[in-house]
Symmetry: C2
Amino acid sequence: MNTLAYAILGLIDKDKVTGYDLTKIFSDSVADFWSAKQSQIYTELKKLVDAALIEYEVVIQGEVLEKKVYSITTKGKEELAAWMHEDEPPLSQSKDIFKLRLYFSEQLTSQELCGKFEKQLEKCQLLLTRYTIKFNEYDSSDIPTAKIGDYLLLKGAIAHLRTQIEWLNESLAYIQK
Amino acid sequence: MNTLAYAILGLIDKDKVTGYDLTKIFSDSVADFWSAKQSQIYTELKKLVDAALIEYEVVIQGEVLEKKVYSITTKGKEELAAWMHEDEPPLSQSKDIFKLRLYFSEQLTSQELCGKFEKQLEKCQLLLTRYTIKFNEYDSSDIPTAKIGDYLLLKGAIAHLRTQIEWLNESLAYIQK
DNA sequence: CAGCACATGTAATACGTTACATGATTAC
DNA sequence: GTAATCATGTAACGTATTACATGTGCTG
C-alpha cells in the first residue's frame, strides 16, 4: 500500500465521503502536505474496496444520479492504525522549480531575477492571506481535540509562508544592491 | 523535456561532470530543492545526448576505466536559457508524511504524538547543524556572483528549518498541556 | 435554458524508485 | 588484500499526470 491509500483511508475514517469530495479535499484542504488528482483517487478507491479496507453505499442524488459514499471497514481501521504507528521516513525532500532556477541564477540578469522574486512574493502573500483568513476562523482558546491537527498544521503553514516571504524580501534586497 | 532534464543541463553548464558526479550532487548539494536517483540520471543523460543538448568526452581514469565527462552544447545552452526565462509554475505542493499523520492525529495518544514530534525535532536539528556548518564556510561580506544562488538558497533552507523547529517545539508544548 | 458544480470512470503517457548487474580505482 | 568509493548501465515496477469520456443536478 502506498501513502495515498493511507491518506484516503484516514480521510474516509474522519468522515464519510464520495470520490468527488476526496478530489476537492486533495486539491484544497490537505493540498499543503498531500495532493492527488481525480483519476488517481478513483483508481485507489477501487483498490481499497477490493482489499476490503473500505466499503460504499450507493446514494441517489436528485432523481437518478448514483453516488458512492465510502466508509472505512474494521480491517481498514486496523491498517490505518498500524500505519499511524510506523516510524516516520527521513525528512521529505521537496521539489521546487523556483529554487532550482535560483541555483542557476547566473543565467539571468539582475532585473530578470528580481522580477522572479517579486512574482514569487505575490504568490506567497496571496496564499498567506487565504491561510490567515482560515486561521482566524478558529477560536484559539477552544480547539476541539479532533481539530488539533488541522489547527497546528495551519499554524505551521502560516509560519512557513511568513519565513518564506521574509527570505524572498531579504534576497531581493541583496540582489538589488 | 521534464524539469530533471533542465536541472541536469544547468548542472553540466555550471561544470563539466560525469553521471556519477550528478548522482552525488542530486543526493547532496541540491537535494533540498531537487533530487533524482542514479538510474534516472543515466537515462536522462542518454536522452540529452540524443537530443544534442549535451555531449561527452571519454576520459580514462587509472588504467582502463572509461568515464564520460559531459559538457553542454550550444543548442543545450539555448534550451537552458529559454527554460530559465519561463514563467514560474504555481507554488510547489510538497508531500509530507509527517504532516499527513499529524492531520490524522486523533488516531494516536498524546504520548505517541509527542514521541513523533520529538523524533522530527531531532532530524530537523541535525540537518540545521549540517546546513549551519556549510553556511559558516561562506565569507558573507564577499560572495562571488556565481555563488549568490547557492548562498541565498542555503540561507533560505536554514530559515525554513529554524521556523520548522520553532513550530515543532510550540506544537509539542501545545499537545502536552 | 445555460452554465457551473456534482459525479464517476478509463487510457495513455510520463516520471520516479528499487533492484539487478558489473567492474575498476584508491586508500589503508 | 580488502573495503570504500568511483563508475556505468538496464529491467521491472510503482506512482502521478494529462486527456479522454459521459452524464446529472442545481441555481439564476
